[in-house]
Symmetry: C2
Subunit: 477 residues, 2 copies
């Protein structure tokens, strides 16, 4: 160290502060059993960061399959890809589980534009999943801007013949970007459903992102149980286009938008969840499931949503094998189909569990992107929640500080039950909505180390769940 | 919420888990004074995320000034830029503080190549800062690969006439990437110095990064006090080139590398630190300093290293003004010159402090990139360290979990003293060495929210330091 002091102050300072950090683990006092756990967890991280396969799996999926809408030929290709890599990983069993999924197609590139002061303004636009198309020649109509579904509904018949423009922005002061998403996404999901009955011609929604940029972000919308006669087409425009449109409407409230999209809903398709297992050594009949979703939107390559989730989930099982740890309970990885457009895969999985009377003791889902690890949210009974939180000191050396109550994920939550411990993996959320459902969700946005740290974080939690969830301490509470 | 349940399971789950998280602050019990602090901190974050200036400042600096080596015309331009934006921010005083800095120039593009099996292999290469050039026509020599300075020195006279190739890779199992850097950077700083005396012709060093890619990473090297006759040229090659060279050396141990670089050291230059202040309302004579470094390497635009640090530091003072908080002590922002090549600015600053008998009670440095906040490292006496750690519950809602003992930074550490509390801002380290000292360190690698969260994190800590560091509790310990 002294040599370095003399030669490079900068280096020394960086070194000294981080060396202490790296070794901070040593200052935590562990029981004998916790020491074993700490060592096994360290091995999971070492293996993920040096022999991890998730990054190359993701490269393969995003490059050679790309975007994979439920019901599409690409989704079918993704199923075959998933089956192949699970088999290559040497799991005890790999199978396909049938699931019924929607089949929505985008059709030709959407168009939305208007003219002010003789200047034509093209808005970056994309149809929302599930939406109908416009008439073949498009729609031309005046615009009413609103900030919420309630505000639109209050306008009632004033919406007749209009394009309703939902323009509530993300609340950027919310630290967790999923909270901002939660506060806005209702416009996207329910906007068209709510205003069709008033004779509105179409709905345009501001994209769901923190940024002001040129990318439209797609996502699901629902007509629910309204009569088909009230179905109207709906699409998202980029946030920059939304800001500009809002400004132009102040000067030109009568401006007319031309909007055309050719998307449509085809008959439902047969598809599959891809499932693999390592059989439990002590309780093969008890299952811990780990998964993400295989389908994605079509504009990008489905890298962060949810390519990272599925490769991390399979990596968990790979790391158990590489770390030579035989699980007590059966570890099952599931690549769920159709999370984005209705959860056909999640339903099929939950129904099969009921039918076969399978016992799930726990589940972990990764569907919040592949960024640097932050922690987990726990959906479990009070006793098991406490047990999971007691592992904090084993996990904080890896940046996993946020371990608190919360939801798990759309695909595993149907398994909820008094004695089922469901967990959501929570990476850092700051960059997620830069890419979510947009053309920017590509492989180059994923950092190898961040992805691998996530895989190891998940493997570590599954290891602890497998070891302790069945313990008398966990059950008696 | 119910409406959402029926319509979008996914949305609901995301929403429910994150809403709880966002509000988790509410479950922490605060004293009356802590409630005030909590509110002020929340305002810092709200302001940074909605009215922050740091991102546009950084765009301006990286786009219109770009890379800014100490002593270069670009560094002089950066000084003017810094003075201008500090004045625009409406600080009470802004001034330039003279500093003597090295002036090293890279010269024309470096070349390093070799031929195996009739195939010429060009290696991406860049001179290290401070290195001499090769003879005008370059050097051609055989190669000896080593993994450390000690291993090279042990070879002694076997190095004569050779190019010494230092190829110790980052230890990717270290979670904090600065630890991996600390474990390798000695090769870069001291390699050439150690082997010149044995008659080695040149040194090539594997780039300091976790990745295997095509970018050479520059950085400082030192000849120290060896005679000039022992000076030999040194450069970094990309990690991919290093891996390939290592493999080729196994098959072709006698292969010869051609290496040419035209860099040189010019006479020292007069430059400046850029300094601004908000005078303290109660103790104007007591100073808390916040800063980063204005100079950078030349291959990229010095975005993460350390453009982010200086714009965040100035943002701290901007946020105090925007939040209408008058500090008790004087808040001073310093854009230090020449952190990268010797710390001329840090020396000039520390000397002026001594000369003017200025009292510094604290300092905060941001020089670890602009990624998502993780925490702070504290270099202070035991009492003040404890005081700072007691603020954890105010800071964890913003992802600032890691608050522990450690170094501060190269520019403020000369201010170290028994009653001076020095702190380093610690963002997430995973992506940092993807960009550090390489052509990839550009504006597009910085995420606006992550940068702004960092500014607010720093403002919050400075607010607490300003309010409490002088308190009897802090002093009596």
């Amino acid at each position: 160290m002294k040599k370095l002091v003399a030669l490079s102050l900068t280096t020394l300072l960086l070194f000294s502060c981080t060396e202490k950090k790296e070794n901070s683990n040593n200052s935590i006092s562990f029981s004998a059993e916790e020491k074993i756990d700490s060592t096994n967890i360290k091995h999971f991280f070492n293996l993920a960061l040096t022999q991890g396969k998730s990054y190359e799996w993701l490269r393969d999926l995003t490059t050679n399959v790309g975007g994979r809408l439920s019901g599409s030929p690409e989704a079918a290709k993704a199923v075959k890809w998933g089956e192949r890599i699970m088999k290559e990983t040497g799991l005890d069993t790999v199978w396909l589980q049938p699931a019924i999924v929607p089949h929505w197609v985008r059709g030709e590139k959407e168009i939305a534009n208007y003219t002010v002061n003789g200047q034509k303004i093209n808005m970056p636009v994309c149809a929302l999943g599930g939406s109908i198309g416009t008439p073949k020649n498009g729609i031309t109509a005046e615009v009413i801007e609103v900030k919420s579904v309630a505000e639109a509904v209050a306008l009632g018949n004033q919406l007749k013949g209009k394009i309703v423009f939902f323009n509530r922005p993300f609340d950027n002061t919310l630290i967790n970007t999923f909270s901002a998403y939660g506060g806005c996404v209702g416009q996207r999901v329910n906007g068209a459903k709510a205003v069709g009955k008033f004779g509105a011609k179409a709905v345009l929604v501001r994209s769901m992102t923190n940024n002001i940029d040129d990318y439209p972000h797609t996502g699901t919308m629902r007509y629910g149980d309204i009569p088909e006669s009230e179905y109207i087409p709906t699409a998202a425009i980029s946030t920059k286009a939304a800001e500009l449109l809002s400004n132009n409407l102040k000067q030109h409230p009568k401006l007319k938008i031309y909007f055309k999209q050719q998307c449509k809903n085809l008959p439902k398709e047969n598809s599959f969840n891809v499932i693999g297992e390592i059989k439990g050594a002590e309780h093969p009949e008890k299952i811990i499931v780990v998964g993400g979703h295989l389908d994605s939107w079509d504009l990008g390559d489905g890298a962060h949503d949810d390519g990272t989730g599925i490769v991390q989930s399979l990596e968990v099982l790979h790391l158990f094998k590489a770390n030579n740890i035989k699980p007590k309970n059966t570890l099952r990885v599931v690549f769920f189909m159709d999370e984005e457009q209705g959860g056909g895969g999640a339903k099929a999985y939950a129904e099969a569990v009921k039918l076969k009377k399978e016992i799930h003791i726990g589940g972990l889902e990764s569907d919040a992107g592949g960024h640097t690890p932050r922690g987990f949210t726990i959906d479990a009974n009070a006793g098991n929640t406490k047990v999971l939180q007691s592992w904090k000191k084993l996990l904080t050396p890896y940046g996993l500080h946020d371990i608190q109550k919360g939801g798990s994920g759309a695909d595993i939550s149907p398994l909820k039950g008094e004695h089922v411990t469901l967990v959501g993996y929570r990476p850092d959320s700051q960059r997620y909505f830069d890419y979510h459902h947009a053309a920017t969700d590509t492989f180059d946005k994923v950092n190898k180390r961040e992805l691998e740290l996530g895989s190891a974080s998940m493997a570590s939690l599954i290891y602890l769940m497998d070891k302790y969830l069945e313990s008398p301490e966990a059950i008696k509470q």
